[in-house]
């Protein structure tokens, strides 16, 4: 009996101990944690109140000090100092206001757990107010725009231009309709004035692509006068994408976007990429794709605005580094700093990088600080991460077109569960990676006078709901344009009515097959051979005598023929005279390069060309004195020139020597790197294939100097990969201030009907001969 009692006591003791432990862990620990949290919370409150009160007092003291300074400077007429103190006063006042708001509202509400009511208000409110249209009207004659009445203004961007909202007059409306531009409401006038601080280069840059932009309907009107330049575009009332992103995240929580917010965000990017596709098909690229340049209207549709940096894809200008950091491809900056021309690269890929970084910023609510290596840390479908990665990948590995990116986006957007979509399910990962939706008409000319019509034809939704956007995307994929039904005549609000067979959630029909963008190797080879033949014919014609640039097939006028004949006789006579004269005097250019030992030259080496110092020894006069035997080499040589324009006299002379030397040797010089041989100081615009080759070679070489051993190996590999198009690369690069140009020849073991050493020697000899 006693044993049982003891056993029961022990058992009760054990149970009691267990209960105590359970009580301690389940009740007391959370209780103490709660007490700790409360103490921390109260200390945070007290600390915040004390700190903000101290800041408030400090700001008020400074404000009191600044006021007399402002007034005193105003009285004595030192307006710049007055402005300086005024700005400081404004800064202190806004700081004091912020502290007051925290002391009176934010901290007390946070203490009682209602901080959600005012969370972020101190940032959101000023941002909205700063971006709101104002009633500020332009002053003086410079602020009048014929045919438009100004009704307000917008906050200026980083370019320094002024932005006004205007109402076109009846005459202007009629003019727009005559040009086929419909549905124009209020417009935005972006004006650059020398008086307002804009610079002439800025005005020139902004006005450069105007005609092309007008053809696309991006620009409605423009005017360039002696002191100002303005252009008119549609007004899109709405909010910047950056602000919309903040709202999406505020409604979703700290973990990342909710499924609904994700759909909205993807819809904005799809609209953006659709618009970019229109730009690219019209031969333009935007160059400044970033959240601030995307406006989301009341219907939820995203519009790309600001055409300040829009450029032609085939522009002969040098790439510039303009754009916005974090949304600008670093590769573009590298190429720009190397002096690469716009037409030598595919500008559309830089826009796609921007679109990828915009998508990243929507998902992360942050900038892609790490470029292409930036990592998505918030909740995000794997397929969307893949799209970002692909869009921001290395230049030659990213999407080939906006259409390809849009196809991927549409698959994710239209999926019932975007998180279930795997990267392998994306069109770019399947066999259709190089195909594009037929409805986008990739590669076809753009037959539209109106930008809005273009985007509408792409299926962009005007109704703002996500459903509308998704249906529109489905319609786009199906190749049917959506119908638009106006629902509110007073405000002009409309909604998209999708075709009957396309509904939300329905599986998108398979994309119709489109021709492959990438040509087969055989076609590329044939094309390359054709270009080579053309290049040979061009060189032959330039060597054989006169040719008329631009219109060689036109019959020559008799009078012109006589004049040309007389000129030729005169030139020959002059040349004979000069030749005789030169027999009695030393040549003007001292060629310091040692005579090439043709048998011992390596397969790749450098020819350091001397800089001509004697202006009297004009190159043109010496090239007609060839050596007794010109070596003839049949090979396709790609010439790449890293010398930035404008070329100095010495550089130009040296480049002409290289150009003429190569043509004398008989090689087919591809590329646009050298000056034309007809005496004009212009660059030839290369064939599109040459441009691709040059861009490819530049990318392959990267930042390596041309004379490094690594470069020789890289170029050897590159030449092996492109052996069907090029057999040799002649790379001209600067060495530094007052240094001669460096001409480097890269070639494989066998080049055409000769070898690398012979070609090296021939080029060397020809260039030296031409330089004399």
């Amino acid at each position: 009996m006693a044993a049982i009692e003891i056993l029961l006591i022990v058992l009760a003791g054990v149970v009691g101990l267990v209960l105590v432990v359970v009580l301690l862990t389940s009740v007391l620990v959370p209780l103490f944690r709660g007490i700790g949290f409360l103490i921390r919370h109260i200390f945070t409150f007290v600390g915040g109140m004390v700190m903000d009160s101290a800041r408030l007092i400090g700001s008020l003291v400074l404000t009191i000090l600044y006021v007399p300074l402002v007034l005193a400077n105003l009285v004595i007429g030192r307006f710049s100092a007055c402005g300086h103190y005024g700005r400081a006063l404004q800064h202190e006042l806004s700081g004091a206001g912020l502290c007051l708001y925290r002391v009176a509202l934010s901290h007390p509400l946070r203490l009682v757990g209602l901080h959600g009511l005012v969370e972020g208000v101190e940032k959101r409110l000023p941002e909205v107010m700063a971006n709101a249209p104002t009633r500020e009207l332009p002053a003086g004659r410079g602020g009048k725009f014929e045919g438009y009445s100004i009704v307000g203004s917008l906050a200026a961007g980083g370019s320094g231009a002024k932005l006004y909202i205007a109402q076109p007059s009846a005459a202007k409306f009629a003019a727009f309709q005559r040009d086929g531009i419909d549905h124009v409401g209020q417009v935005v006038i972006k004006t650059f004035s020398l008086k307002d601080g804009s610079s002439l280069p800025q005005i020139v840059r902004e006005s450069r692509s105007l005609d092309a932009a007008k053809k696309l309907g991006l620009i409605l009107d423009h005017e360039l006068t002696a002191d100002r330049f303005f252009y008119v575009m549609r007004y899109v009332p709405g909010e910047p994408l950056g602000m919309m992103t903040k709202r999406l995240h505020a409604s979703s929580g700290p973990g990342g976007l909710s499924p609904a917010a994700m759909q909205s965000g993807l819809g904005y990017v799809a609209d953006l990429v659709s618009t970019l596709s229109v730009y690219h098909r019209g031969g333009l690229w935007h160059k400044d794709v970033k959240p601030d340049n995307v406006i989301v209207d009341a219907s939820g549709r995203a519009h790309l605005v600001d055409f300040g940096l829009v450029s032609s894809l085939r522009s002969a200008m040098t790439l510039t580094t303009h754009g916005t950091e974090y949304f600008r491809d670093p590769e573009m900056v590298r190429l720009a700093l190397k002096g690469v021309k716009v037409h030598e690269v595919d500008g559309t890929r830089f826009d796609l990088y921007g679109a990828g970084s915009v998508l990243f910023s929507i998902i992360e609510e942050s900038f892609p600080a790490h470029g292409g290596l930036s990592q998505v840390t918030k909740r995000c479908p794997e397929a969307v991460k893949w799209i970002i990665r692909r869009a921001m990948a290395d230049y030659d590995k990213r999407y080939e077109s906006a259409a390809a990116m849009l196809a991927d986006l549409d698959v994710v957007r239209m999926a019932p569960d975007p998180f279930a979509v795997r990267p392998i399910d994306l069109p770019s990962m399947r066999a259709s990676a190089t195909r594009t939706p037929a409805s986008l008409g990739q590669g076809n000319p753009l037959p539209i006078p109106s930008f809005a019509a273009a985007v509408g034809a792409l299926g962009a939704s005007i109704g703002g709901a996500i459903k509308g956007a998704m249906d529109t995307a489905a319609a786009r994929a199906a190749g049917h344009g959506p119908q638009i039904r106006v629902t509110h005549w007073w405000t002009g609000r409309a909604e998209v009515v999708p075709p009957a067979d396309v509904r939300l959630g329905a599986t998108p029909p398979p994309l119709p097959a489109a021709p492959l963008i990438r040509r087969s190797a055989a076609e590329q080879l044939a094309s390359a051979r054709g270009r080579v033949e053309e290049a040979r014919a061009r060189i032959a014609s330039s060597r054989n005598g006169f040719h008329f640039r631009g219109a060689p097939q036109k019959p020559v006028n008799g009078g012109v023929g006589v004049a040309v004949a007389l000129m030729v006789v005169g030139l020959v006579a002059l040349n004979v005279f000069r030749t005789r004269q030169s027999e009695h005097s030393a040549p003007g250019i001292d060629v310091s390069t040692p005579a090439a030992d043709q048998g011992s030259l390596p397969s790749s080496g450098a020819i350091v060309l001397p800089v001509a110092t004697d202006e009297s020894a004009a190159f043109e006069s010496s090239v007609d004195n060839p050596p007794a035997t010109w070596p003839q080499v049949t090979a396709r040589v790609l010439v790449i020139n890293d010398v930035l324009q404008p070329w100095s006299g010495d550089s130009d002379k040296t480049l002409r020597a290289v150009s003429h030397g190569l043509s004398r040797v008989g090689v087919s010089a591809l590329g646009n790197a050298l000056p034309a041989n007809d005496g004009e100081n212009v660059e030839r615009i290369g064939e599109s294939g040459d441009i691709d080759l040059i861009a490819s070679a530049r990318l392959a070489l990267g930042q390596r100097p041309t004379d490094s051993p690594d470069a020789a190996a890289v170029m050897k590999r590159w030449l092996a990969e492109h052996s069907d198009q090029v057999e040799c690369v002649v790379w001209v690069s600067p060495q530094g201030k007052s240094q001669p140009l460096r001409v480097h020849v890269f070639g494989g073991a066998k080049i055409g009907d000769t070898d690398a050493a012979s070609l090296q020697a021939s080029v060397n000899q020809a260039v030296q001969s031409a330089s004399r």
Binding site: V333, L373, R422, Q703, P709, G736
Partner: protein, 254 residues
């Protein structure tokens, strides 16, 4: 000791090759800015540090002519000396503008460093420079490898996803993932050697990779455990570098 490779790199900088300057600033800018902010805490604002740009650096090619790295200075020290010089010059220019007079010549020991208790280059900065070199090598590998191969590397190593998950996402088998990952890893090992050689002046700097456990084992003796350690080290370096870039970005946008 200068090798032909890094000598040529210095030559490009001296020739005012802006793309070379851009490369340097893209790679090492955040580390240098972080160090300058630390030194100038309380004396110079973050905005002043951020004003250091590749254009400013490029404009100082003449000062590089006077700098001789063959005296035994480390690349990291050399880099910081240039940045310090530029920042000092910028501050002098601002002071001169305020005074309305001519600017005086910049000095390497700048007065704004006086607030710092430790003006010497610390181990943290050296580690930061090394991480920047590893990041540069990863970028080179990104350029040189196939997109899908690098994506596998990124998902497996940088994001730390299991091989099975990567295989399912990309519709390939796990052995394929491992094989392609090994290919990228091998390229990365090679490029690490190249990049560190370019951005190193001393033998001590060249051995950094081996010292940090990245290139300790020869290829023939390498095991799966070595590869796992390598991946882990790369992942850690990448994430620390990403944190640094985030801080740098926050300072720039402040």
């Amino acid at each position: 000791m200068l090798t032909p490779v890094n000598m040529d790199f210095i030559g490009r900088l001296r020739a005012n090759d802006q793309s070379a300057w851009f490369e340097v600033w893209e790679t090492f800018g955040p580390v240098v800015r972080s160090q300058l902010s630390k030194w100038g805490k309380g004396r110079i604002g973050s905005q002043t540090v951020q004003d250091l740009s590749q254009e400013t650096l490029a404009a100082l090619s003449e000062s590089i002519e006077r700098f001789d790295p063959s005296r035994g200075a480390r690349f990291s020290t050399w880099l910081l000396a240039i940045a310090k010089h530029v920042l000092g010059d910028e501050l002098d220019r601002r002071h001169a503008q305020k005074r309305g007079g001519n600017k005086r010549a910049a000095e390497l020991d700048e007065s704004w460093m006086a607030s710092s208790t430790d003006p010497g280059v610390d181990a943290q900065y050296e580690a930061g420079v090394f991480r920047a070199k590893v990041e540069a090598a990863i970028r080179v590998v990104e350029k040189e490898t196939e997109f899908s191969d690098f994506a596998i590397f990124s998902m497996r190593v940088l994001e730390g996803k299991p091989g099975k998950e990567v295989a399912e996402a990309l519709g390939i088998s796990e052995p394929t993932v491992s094989r392609r990952l090994a290919k990228v890893r091998e390229v990365l090992r090679e490029r690490l050697v190249d990049v560190i050689r370019i951005y190193s002046f001393t033998e001590d700097e060249k051995d950094e990779a081996a010292r940090n456990g990245l290139l300790a084992t020869p290829k023939q003796e390498r095991s799966a455990a070595d590869d796992a350690l390598f991946d882990e080290a790369i992942c850690e370096i990448y994430h620390r570098q990403m944190d640094l870039r985030r801080q740098d970005q926050a300072a720039r946008l402040r």
